[in-house]
Symmetry: D2
């Protein structure tokens, strides 16, 4: 059980470092791009796709015209729209395909990735780097975690650190948008689905 | 932009408190229940539903027989199965309905909620309390956040704190299961979807 | 294999009867209601939910403001909106709940069901009856099908006839809307998703 | 309104022709392949994806180990598995990608398509041709439909005929599997989801 708390603290440590490294200028640009977009499309696959959806839902609560790529009623992208891709590696095939299509239709492309040098990173108009787990960070920082790991190299497997950090980062974007738009929590609640 | 980093740190602070408050005994019981289940069903609505899916995907990577309620090929629940509900308020209608059905079929019910005293909490065989935002915590702890907020009472609206904490908590459960089952990251990767 | 063709012909026979029984006045009213709605919400569960989605996608291609209940960016329902429920039995819990909420917010409720006398049927402002399999129809009409069935009472189990008929019916609604709105297939194609 | 019934009859006519053209030998082979598969993966995009899901749900009701590509808990494909792709054109990118991956892992690939000569058709181990709308068929067969159409060339836009026919065809496969496996409707109902 101590493992659960250790693993959570491990991830918190990674997120703290990732916050420190976030480029404030790029984040500012991302927020401006969101505010100017006609329609917004959010995209990711696997667990990054779930982070994409969590972000899209809050943008809807704030009143944006937003859709998730792959859902049923998602309209086509066109000039003046914004396509936001979430991919730790920046090499997810379907995300790269959609980014290329978006560029071709003159929509803006924003990439949230750990790898600005990736294929996605190179296509994007704007890259916000969100650090995932690095080689260095694979050694757990806490003593208890190191002891427990044995043959395990990490308590946060695969894309966990990137996904969890991306979720918190995009929730941070929502906070800033709330303040810019002067929206209160009550107003968000009024846009919450009536059905569940 | 400073808002984005402040909001992220705000949420990190909430998560740190939530980790501290996690009941180690209950978490231990939850892990034992997962290891004994014949089939596992995960459920949540809205953003809690996305957290449910992120957890289900990792359980699949670990080799568990796991399904998400509401997906296409999800089989019926039966005796010996485990139903895990994720609901901050513990009052989500569809989650309560499914919990009752699970109990009636002699499946175990585990609730991840901020409110053990809720309807869901009372139905569940085991409740793991994951603290969301409390009244007290609605005042942001950082000075800069308080300054920026103005009419806003929080930088983490609606269920944000619960959802983000639940995701990190369930990722912590995955870490402990990896160690118990002796699974390496490489083995998880081998169970990763071949398609994306 | 002859079974496959027999089963298909069996279902075609049911659909032909269902077309004959469709109430033209009610269908006319449904189309007028769709044309007047501010926002349209489509809903169903299980395979009826898939039919709901197939209909919603085409309404989007026609340019309507349409969402599927349960998807990520679905906004709340409000006065002047239209909620269309698809439920063979008219007794699906989550559909009844959503229909009640829609009525309470002064949205119109249209029910596509085999049972106008059901709970859903009674809530709805307008019911379009789409016949599913009736007791009488459970006896397969073709000789070869009767021969093959043995202990089986039907070649179209559970809601198959209702679901298949509802899909064709709603595709028929799309055809009429195309003509009323003067939309060509080419214009629909232009609204087709850019990503797949 | 007459349009709705005309359009439905138009589609029925197309389906009747498609049934006539179905290659019984290929369908027989498809059923044998399904019965031998260790795990079954179903895939399609857009409305063909909904048809894929409707088929997958019934296979689950029959007790098969079946998953839909793109859902949360879908495991990786491996040797001895079966990948069934549904694509009218046979040129859907993501479907072609997944078919190639499936071949590479020594899984069998079955294609349901109107175009056996397509990229997907060429990759597949087995192609079942399901006729969609042909050039010839674009002229509506009924007089009233021709009168109403005006500038419209069809009452069944885009992939409608293929999708509706594919749904009925795959429901026919389910009927034959029910008989082969000796499953009654009651047994299917027992595998129906407990939650909705």
């Amino acid at each position: 059980m101590a493992t659960v708390k250790s693993a959570m603290r491990e991830v918190l440590g990674h997120i703290q470092n990732a916050i420190y490294e976030l480029d404030e200028g790029k984040v500012e640009q991302m927020i401006k791009t969101i505010l100017k977009a006609k329609k917004i499309f959010i995209h990711g696959t696997g667990r990054s796709g779930l982070v994409a959806k969590a972000f899209a839902m809050r943008l809807m609560h704030l009143g944006f015209n937003v859709w998730v790529i792959g859902e049923i009623v998602t309209p086509p992208v066109s000039r003046g729209d914004l396509y936001i891709a979430i991919s730790g590696s920046g090499e997810t095939h379907s995300v790269i395909d959609a980014a290329k299509i978006s560029k071709a239709t003159k929509a803006k492309v924003v990439a949230i990735t750990s790898h600005p040098e990736s294929t996605l990173g190179k296509i994007a108009d704007l890259v916000v780097k969100v650090r995932g787990r690095t080689k260095l960070m694979e050694k757990p920082t806490s003593y208890i975690a190191r002891q427990m790991l044995g043959k395990h190299t990490t308590l946060a497997p695969l894309g966990t650190v990137f996904e969890d950090t991306a979720l918190l980062f995009l929730d941070g974007i929502i906070s800033e948008l709330m303040i810019i738009l002067g929206k209160t929590e009550k107003e968000l609640k009024a846009r919450h689905t009536t059905f569940e």
